[in-house]
């Protein structure tokens, strides 16, 4: 039972609202530079579990950053609500929300030292000085920057600035930490290191991380769960494996990892829906008479010498990548498939005939 400020009882509309950050029917429309209305958030309903590392993935302009800023209170929703457990965030100004943000540009205060940057939020909360000092030292130790507290942000490397921004946002012990493409400005090697660091810090603090990125690899490696955004709404929400193995539509399959798309007509055969790829038949869950798109991951296809039970194809291209062999094979009907082969590598001759093996479970029918 929960009471409001006046002591009246009210019953939470949703019983399991306790352990989640709930976005309910959020809508937000912007006006573009050309004067056209753009739906940044199109009726988004999303439940983020407290304590998880949640990744919002999508191309630029898909609404993920708008949603993040709406949770922070830097953007106002046209309609819809955001709840953190039983607290309605929507009406609160940014400084009253138990949420902090790591900005894409870091937004470190240039006139303040690293130490003062981390202390900023604590000073705003009017904490006693010794508490602030203790907390700042703790945070700088957490991000391994204890020895640069006296420096100005401009004297730090990009990776260090990134970690100061993280320490500053974590210093206030937010219930939810929002990260807006925090690693996009770092080079690849540094980004990998920071990904590990973020994962470690998230485990260590137990704080809910909501992480926005357009990098699918980053999303897969970081997220406990991922929401793939398409045109202002999540197209699919799930664990990295669910999203990778069972994409709900062509957009998600295409955005996550590398995928071959094959179109085929569904035929009814012995009461089952089937499609034919290069003369081989596969059971699918789709009504007969339709044309469907199926997604096949390159690493799930086998290529070798032609033989029975294999699809006859032609090897069009072959590239040796060290850890794997990438090739392009042509099906009898002319459709091309990209294939990634792990060692041991078979003997293949570009231009020659090959046998293509597609396991039945490698085929996923995706909506367009």
């Amino acid at each position: 039972m929960i009471t409001d400020a006046k002591g009246r009882y009210f019953v939470s509309q949703k019983a399991d609202r306790r352990k989640e950050l709930l976005v309910n029917q959020a809508c937000k429309t912007f006006t573009s530079a050309e004067g056209e209305p753009v739906k940044a958030l199109d009726d988004v309903t999303l439940s983020i579990r407290l304590g998880e590392f949640f990744v919002m993935l999508g191309p630029s302009g898909c609404g993920k950053t708008t949603l993040l800023r709406s949770i922070a209170g830097l953007e106002h929703l046209d309609s819809g609500e955001i709840y953190l457990q039983d607290m309605a965030l929507s009406g609160l100004p940014p400084h009253r929300r138990p949420v902090n943000t790591v900005f894409q540009s870091y937004a470190l205060f240039p006139h303040l030292s690293v130490w003062e940057n981390v202390a900023f939020g604590l000073k705003m909360d009017k904490l006693p000085k010794d508490k602030i000092a203790e907390r700042v030292s703790e945070m700088l130790a957490l991000v391994q920057l204890s020895d640069v507290g006296g420096r100005k942000p401009s004297q730090l490397s990009g990776g260090q600035q990134q970690r100061v921004a993280l320490a500053r946002a974590l210093a206030k012990s937010p219930q939810v930490l929002l990260l807006d493409e925090p690693l996009s400005a770092l080079d690849l090697k540094l980004r990998r290191g920071m990904q590990g660091e973020l994962k470690r810090i998230q485990h260590q603090t137990g704080i809910t991380f909501v992480f926005v990125t357009h990098d699918q690899e980053e999303a897969l490696s970081l997220g406990d769960r991922i929401a793939v955004f398409e045109n202002g709404r999540p197209a699919q929400v799930g664990t990295p494996e669910e999203i990778y193995r069972h994409p709900v539509n062509r957009f998600v399959a295409d955005f996550i990892g590398d995928t071959n798309f094959i179109t085929a007509d569904v035929e009814s055969e012995a009461g089952k829906s089937r499609i034919a790829i290069g003369g081989q038949r596969f059971d699918v869950e789709a009504p007969a008479g339709q044309t469907v798109t199926v997604a096949i991951r390159p690493e799930n296809i086998a290529v070798g010498a032609p033989g029975p039970g294999k699809i006859d194809g032609k090897l069009a291209e072959l590239t040796y990548m060290g850890t794997d062999l990438r090739c392009s094979v042509e099906l009898p009907d002319g459709q091309a498939l990209r294939v990634r082969i792990s060692p041991p590598f078979p003997q293949l001759t570009p231009g020659g005939p090959v046998g293509i093996g597609i396991p039945a479970d490698a085929i996923a029918v995706v909506a367009d």
């Binding site: 902090n100 900005f103 937004a107 470190l108 205060f109 500053r168």
Partner: protein, 301 residues
């Protein structure tokens, strides 16, 4: 054999800059040297000009006069002109910066294209001669001018609005508002408004954001504005002459008088040197403050 510094491609030998340096020295140091030496020379028996005879009389003349019996006594008349200049300069600076600051914020938060347009609008007055623009204020304040016409709509009798320190102040503020807007605008335009968002996110209220984030970033620009208004307003000449009508004696007019009707060149030079020294002390203090608080204060537009 003396080693010669190699000239890199795209770089000219140091000799090519010599004419520019000489010209620069001639027109900046030259007048200062002339004025400073004049201030330590003597007045000729008759007529204007100076005679080459060392004298501190001009500096003494600033504060003391000789009475009929040859006794020196303290005369605050010239000091009063300094005082009036000081007040006019303080008023001009306060009003110009006060009007300019909200305008600068408004400008800096517009889309980039609009901002360029607005900067152009602010600089439009510079395209017309200052003398002409100051004359326009005479027409505005005159007996049958715009100001009195507006007053008459409210049934107020025509007033003598011209030739006092208030009309002078209005013309000075009018002149210096663009000089206040430009440096403050440029500081604000360089301000990353995402920092304000970060501050809000970390629990800062509006006032905290202005005090702790916006002000440290733009205070350098505000100080530049103060310096750019105060220094020229202190020595202003046209506005007190035209709108003060000879009744408002500011340092600028006082100096002009010494080279004109009063025919006391050494004293005019001494007054200029006093202003120069005061200004240098002020600028030095400003820069020292700027260095201590790691601010960028620009003393030029």
């Amino acid at each position: 054999m003396a080693a010669r510094t190699a000239v890199r491609p795209g770089q000219l030998s140091a000799w090519f800059t010599t004419p520019a340096i000489l010209l620069g020295l001639l027109f900046t140091l030259g007048p200062i040297v002339v004025i400073t030496s004049f201030s330590f020379m003597s007045q000729p028996e008759a007529g204007s000009g100076v005679v080459m005879e060392f004298s501190l009389a001009s500096y003494q003349h600033f504060l003391f006069q000789e009475d009929f019996y040859g006794q020196m006594y303290f005369d605050p008349r010239y000091l009063n002109a300094f005082g009036l200049s000081l007040w006019q300069a303080v008023g001009t600076t306060a009003l110009s910066v006060g009007i300019g600051f909200p305008v600068s914020i408004w400008m800096a938060t517009k889309p980039p294209k609009t901002q360029n347009m607005l900067v152009l609008l602010v600089t439009i007055p510079f395209w017309t001669n200052l003398l002409v623009r100051t004359y326009a204020w005479i027409l505005f304040f005159s007996g049958d001018g715009t100001a009195n016409t507006v007053l008459s709509w409210f049934g107020i009798e025509p007033q003598q609005l011209l030739y006092n320190s208030w009309s002078t102040l209005v013309a000075l503020v009018y002149t210096f508002v663009p000089f206040a807007i430009l440096p403050m605008y440029s500081a604000l335009a360089g301000f990353d408004f995402r920092l304000a968002e970060a501050a809000y996110d970390l629990g800062a209220k509006k006032l905290d954001v202005v005090r702790k984030v916006l002000w440290p970033a733009v205070s350098g620009g505000v100080l530049s504005a103060v310096a750019l208004c105060f220094v020229p307003a202190f020595g202003s000449y046209i506005q007190p002459v035209l709108l003060g009508g000879g009744k408002v004696l500011m340092v600028g007019n006082l100096i002009a008088d010494q080279y004109g009707s009063a025919r006391n060149w050494p004293f005019g030079a001494a007054l200029s040197v006093i202003i120069l020294v005061l200004t240098l002390v002020g600028a030095w203090a400003l820069l020292a403050w700027a260095k201590r608080s790691a601010q960028t204060v620009s003393l030029a537009v």
